[in-house]
């Protein structure tokens, strides 16, 4: 087994465009002391890396997977792969890494590898709750054009929305989560997805359209 997260079809951190992005636009690379710490003493600094990014990666994995059990395993596995990869990297390479993009990338790859083997389960997006309950919540997603602020912020609406996002086709799901849930710039999204900017942009756009349609459908299903 490879020690990085590279698997057929999905480039691992060794081919990370997160890295290339930084190299191509050195000015954009944040002067993160964390890179230096990791390069100097990985074992000492790794815990800090996990603490700094665990909420972010777990959240990302949760939006991708749609359930907490898978999300925790994906986040866990991602950090383990990140550590093993960093172990093999020369210090120069660790210094040049765009850590956030690189970690998102690994998480995405780990999640994809899991999906290949099984269907995504859409359970327990909220704090517990059965399948039936979540399905009902999905129906609660309101018409987005109708008083979005007051209605969409409600907890059950969020769960419904999260369920709908998690049921989007994989390529669109990752794009829309990175762009809007994680709030990354399109350039970063493209780098993480290893896609040209135009492709990432159209994937995000398509994802929004699909999501809008899914929201409309769930509303219709609720009414009938």
């Amino acid at each position: 087994m490879s020690t990085t997260c590279a698997t057929e079809g999905f480039p691992g951190p060794s081919e990370s465009t997160g890295l290339r992005l930084v190299k191509g636009h050195a000015a954009m690379a944040p002067a993160d002391p964390r890179n230096e710490e990791l390069a100097a003493d990985l074992d000492a600094a790794f815990e800090g890396l996990v603490r700094a990014f665990q909420d972010r990666l777990y959240s990302f994995a949760l939006r991708l997977c749609g359930n907490r059990e898978d999300a925790e395993e994906v986040a866990q596995d991602s950090f383990v792969r990140a550590y093993r990869a960093l172990k093999t990297y020369p210090a120069e390479r660790i210094r040049a890494l765009s850590l956030q993009a690189w970690l998102y990338r690994i998480t995405l790859n780990v999640a994809r590898n899991r999906w290949r083997g099984k269907r995504v389960r859409l359970v327990s997006l909220g704090n517990g709750g059965s399948d039936g309950e979540d399905a009902r919540r999905a129906w609660d997603v309101p018409d987005a054009s109708e008083r979005p602020d007051s209605r969409l912020e409600r907890e059950q609406d969020r769960r419904g929305l999260a369920s709908l996002v998690a049921s989007l086709p994989e390529r669109y799901r990752a794009a829309i989560i990175l762009r809007y849930v994680e709030g990354l710039r399109l350039e970063e999204v493209a780098a993480i997805l290893n896609q040209p900017l135009g492709t990432a942009k159209s994937n995000v756009h398509r994802a929004v359209n699909l999501l809008r349609r899914a929201i409309t459908d769930s509303r219709r299903a609720k009414r009938s």
């Binding site: 003493d41 074992d43 000492a44 790794f46 815990e47 996990v50 603490r51 665990q54 909420d55 972010r56 990666l57 777990y58 959240s59 949760l62 939006r63 907490r68 999300a71 925790e72 986040a75 866990q76 950090f79 383990v80 550590y83 093993r84 987005a144 054009s145 979005p148 602020d149 969409l152 912020e153 609406d157 969020r158 929305l161 999260a162 996002v165 829309i176 989560i177 809007y180 849930v181 709030g183 929004v208 999501l211 809008r212 929201i215």
Partner: protein, 268 residues
Amino acid sequence: MKTQSKASDSPTLAIARSLAALPRERAPRSLLPAVLKKVGLADTYWEIETPIGRIFIAHSRQGISMVSRARSAREFERAFERRTGRPIERAKGKPPADLRAVVAGRRKAADAHLRFDLRGLSEFERAVLLKAFEIPRGEVRPYSWIAREIGHAGAVRATGSALAKNPVPVLIPCHRVVRSDGHLGNYSLGGPRNKRTLLEAEGAQPATLEKLAASGVRYFGNEAEKYFCFPTCGGIGSLMRENLVLFGSDREALAAGYRPCAACRPAA
């Protein structure tokens, strides 16, 4: 540029906004320990007998990370995880001979190449602890000595606080730091009684030190060679009684023409 109508724009915006409003979920507490265990970065611990009973010594790849007393291994593990947020497992095998020798006093800690994992402490706290580490077995120093030696002569109280937070007592011998008025002062590992027990076991004679301090003696001088020391300094210990001079303060000793001992450095 795109010229989309307001009508098709606003639902997109609303979706974007509601997606952005999805909360960032907190990672479960079990995530970090699981990761560290899997990559082999979990701390491990040994149990060792000492004059103050059984202690637990945890260490990470960086070095010794925590020393504590506990009624049981389970209690220690819980205390460790609470304090550091890291997982811990019992070490396989016996503690290294070096470590056992240091705890038993058969070997100088400085010679044993002990490494400490002092992550999470401030620069100042680390400096205090590493200075305390230099105090030889059988000797004691006042808090003010540490403060002065690390270049913060005024920070005596902060020095005390840093020592109270010592995560690795016994091995970094904060019990060898006492008050300049002769009181032993507090001890994090089970209170002043344990501090006394440890000092007695090391031959520092805390009772004698207290008596000396009570009668106003703080330093010993060597009349023949005109230098002065802390009473526990190894150099002055072998001094013949007729050459011994007693001082109540460093100023008094300096005024009498005595220079501070180069080994125990009782004055700047």
